[in-house]
Symmetry: C2
Subunit: 373 residues, 2 copies
Amino acid sequence: MSGKPADFSPLETPCIVIHLEKTEANIAKMAAAIRKTGVRLRPHAKTHKLPEMAHRQLQAGAAGITVAKISEAEVMADGGIHDLFVAYPVVGLSKLRRAAKLIQAGVRLILGVDSLEGAQRMAQVAREQNVEFEARLEIESGLNRTGVSAAAAVALAKEIDALEGVSLTGIFTYRGAMLGGAGTTDLRSAGHEEGRFMVQTADNLRAAGIGIRDVSVGSSPTAVYAAEIEGVTEVRPGTYIYQDAMQAAFGLCSLDECAGTVLATVVSRPAPDRIVIDGGSKTFATDVQPGKPPLHLKGFGRVIGDPEAVFERMNEEHGVIVVSPDSRYQVGDVIGIIPNHICSTVNLHNFVYLLNADGETAKVPVAARGLLE
Amino acid sequence: MSGKPADFSPLETPCIVIHLEKTEANIAKMAAAIRKTGVRLRPHAKTHKLPEMAHRQLQAGAAGITVAKISEAEVMADGGIHDLFVAYPVVGLSKLRRAAKLIQAGVRLILGVDSLEGAQRMAQVAREQNVEFEARLEIESGLNRTGVSAAAAVALAKEIDALEGVSLTGIFTYRGAMLGGAGTTDLRSAGHEEGRFMVQTADNLRAAGIGIRDVSVGSSPTAVYAAEIEGVTEVRPGTYIYQDAMQAAFGLCSLDECAGTVLATVVSRPAPDRIVIDGGSKTFATDVQPGKPPLHLKGFGRVIGDPEAVFERMNEEHGVIVVSPDSRYQVGDVIGIIPNHICSTVNLHNFVYLLNADGETAKVPVAARGLLE
């Protein structure tokens, strides 16, 4: 994309290089697609875990940022992001106290809730800290993880709405492309279905007297389609900023549009058809396994420039790639790999290297990585 | 084990608690078993990633410490460990220069090598930095990752031995319990086979005039058995220090002997038979998947006190556990889980909490975690 080729020789491997021009193109493409629908875009920061990238998304028109943890909200707030949604049921009293602190500091912080016990804990901390929590009820939509069923939502919402200190202003769900369940790759239908289901659920709650304003849905595979449904107010894609081999397999991008590349060094070629690189399961996330439906991903990532190579298996420090016997890999070569799942891969790295249009790299700590507590 | 129950209430979840009494018992048990054989014990630090734990292993009689990376060797050296083996082919010139620095600082640092190209790079840096590298040749013994085949070992060893600045003093292999391949759970036979194979390989090299002194083998499942073979000089178990659900499935320990517990909070009970905890694939490693042969692990970890519970699936922040419908889990409860693979799980955590016999916890940064470069 730029005239000057990047010089990766000063970089120690394994490491992640983030191509900034591709990142900007991905940000702009999603922002334009969502803008057309009139729906608000609230990107999930789980992919980049960097306030700097969140600012780029906001500058392109995003209305706020999504995170999964109070600790991540703290890092984003510290980095100057002041409209945050923790799309996760926050139930720990100490975490709710930290949330109260952010609100007292002037952050608009929306919290997820999916149980009366969770809401009661919010009410307890709201009273204790003299704040009001803005909450969104999580609705179960097929992944069978957190979220109340649509059938039980009205009764629960009424109980939550009656609590002092908790203002129930919206509903949200995460369905992805149903990767956790039966799986689909008809993303348009999946996005439409998700949107319609949530709008219907919001209408049921409104009919029961609950003031639901926000209907927040969508993931990178489905956001553009879910946003087409009248009544959806917000979408929360995350992965699109960098893209990865999984998104490419969905047909959402080409491998060339993937902005996050893992660089690794060939440390061994013990057989003509096998190379071993210095990155294994500490470098590449293993949460998205190859071969599984619906995507049947070919290996643990795609080797740039060698579509035939199969990244077959890993141990902690070893990545084993099956290559053509007449390929020319040598010990010491540095190769680039597009990982299957960039979000969880970034989480493994203390640093990323940001590569600009002039071929220069800047080493940046991943500010919100590994924040579990 | 102690009179005073631990108070975990100040800990934010998810987090890892390391039970120090169990850790000490595991260290002592392995040290005693290996001491009986007269073989040297060089534990792999990949499990704990903490100089403090390496010192405990040395105090119990270990002859040195194993690591996988120069960056890990740097942390261990900085923490006062001065006899280190990087059991990995080190081929990067910058990494070899960092290795040279450690040697110049007085560390006994042994490096792995499995190719002529790698050895030539060592020789280049040895000349440039005016050091001598002590190297061990990695032998392929079944996992088909790094390592030269026994058949090709003599020819390669002769070429390496002829290089100035590289002193080939030993051979090593890693075979685990063949988890990467066909798999076995007859650990005694596997350990004996591994030991005999390597002693035979060393003898072949000696017959060709190569001065092989060290024959380094073994993993937590096989170390005790491999050490019984005459001619084996060193074993390198790692996981035994904390143990985990995988080691328990091998029959090497009970779940109660596992010293590393992940604490997590129940954030949702959306159905009577399902709880969701605040730890997913960012908290529990996914490199050892459930259900696969030979161990057929039941879920992604074992819930302490509830053998029937199945930790069925994860997303980044969600852990979904199938429980008995009449179990009494409530939102806000903190539960303990023994992970399938403690080494890669520790790598996900910035901190561990060390729990002493008085029930006190100390928050300690995992000094050598996430060191990829």
